[in-house]
Symmetry: C2
Subunit: 215 residues, 2 copies
């Protein structure tokens, strides 16, 4: 069971279009955009004011542009949002998924169903996943336990029988807190979050995953 954004798909592949629109500011905008996007998922969930990930992503973009003093008319905003529908997969993704073909492969993501379908197709990963599960079914974002419970329900297997893979440490900890087996893909060699739980396994990229599962 894979997280999507940051795990399969590189959210910072929006940097090139951001740079086209705002020369030299692409990395700063991409970073502020992503940070706010996550914050808004947590804040809306806590407030009990769910809106889907497309809306949240757009709101985060609007805020990030204002914070960085980048004028972003509606047309530019639409073009930047469009980039979210065809994020690049990390280079090792196709081969790593192929190496796991004897497992049931699925996605569990904050993304809205439309966003996920577009991203999977655009990355050439159509047909690989038996389930593409969106939090939209439960109207609350990760790391609410309701999200990880949804994964267990949809697959019809116990939480502990699911191997959950994410590059977002807080997502791994949320999954572990609920009872999933977890592997943190720590591409950036970040320190582990201090939230009372630890991943069951670590990987430097998805290429290490088959080995981690065997161990």
């Amino acid at each position: 069971m894979f997280d999507a954004y940051g795990t399969l798909f590189d959210v910072h592949s929006v940097i090139s279009i951001c740079n086209q629109k705002f020369p030299g500011r692409g990395p700063a905008l991409s970073q502020a955009w992503r940070l706010k996007q996550l914050e808004y998922t947590w804040l809306r969930s806590l407030m009990g004011r769910y809106e889907d990930f497309w809306k949240v992503t757009e709101s985060a973009l609007v805020f990030a542009c204002k914070a960085l003093d980048l004028p972003c008319p509606l047309e530019t905003r639409a073009e930047l949002m469009e980039a979210y529908l065809h994020l690049q997969p990390y280079p090792e993704v196709p081969q790593a998924l192929a190496a796991l073909s004897n497992y049931t492969r699925a996605i569990l993501s904050n993304g809205s169903p439309r966003m996920l379908q577009a991203a999977v197709e655009s990355a050439g990963l159509h047909g690989i996943f038996s389930h593409v599960i969106s939090v939209d079914e439960v109207k609350i974002y990760k790391p609410s336990p309701r999200v990880y419970q949804l994964a267990s329900q949809k697959l019809g297997v116990a939480a502990a029988a699911i191997g959950f893979v994410s590059s977002n440490c807080w997502d791994i900890i949320g999954a572990k807190s609920f009872g999933l087996w977890t592997c943190w893909v720590n591409r950036g060699r970040a320190p582990q979050d201090e939230l009372g739980f630890a991943p069951d396994a670590l990987a430097g990229s998805l290429a290490d995953l088959a080995g981690a599962l065997k161990a």
Copy 2:
């Protein structure tokens, strides 16, 4: 009803002790520490894994030091944590609170009761507040509606009869979403968060508050 951290007390007054321990890295550490502190309140709340604000603040410090590659032995950590018990109030705070002496003045904060008591006393604000309310009573952090409801219960007045003042825009939006009257103290001229609600009033500092309440 005042938020405490960032509103009455300057969380970045820890910069000087951070600079003593890690010369030149004070601002970066303070910023990373605060950001992670907030993230952890949201994540723990969503996970249903509440720990009090002292624990969360310490966990955030541990993470921030690791992320910035600053070695932080237990003794240093204890000294940095100690700074949280005597944060400096913003300069206008005593006079602004005095100007509101015909209102019931209270605090509604993420802080643990012990942290809040220490900060209020250290800032010389003892005796001003009729209620110092901690989220610890409901074991979930802002912006959960249960926190703002607690304020209404403790004061025994309707939500709309409470004027809530915070420098944290997301806190203002959480309070507004629940039904409190809100004034956002925007000292840093930040853009407003895009979360579907807007503050009822704006202020550049607490010194503007008496005027905003009259208007």
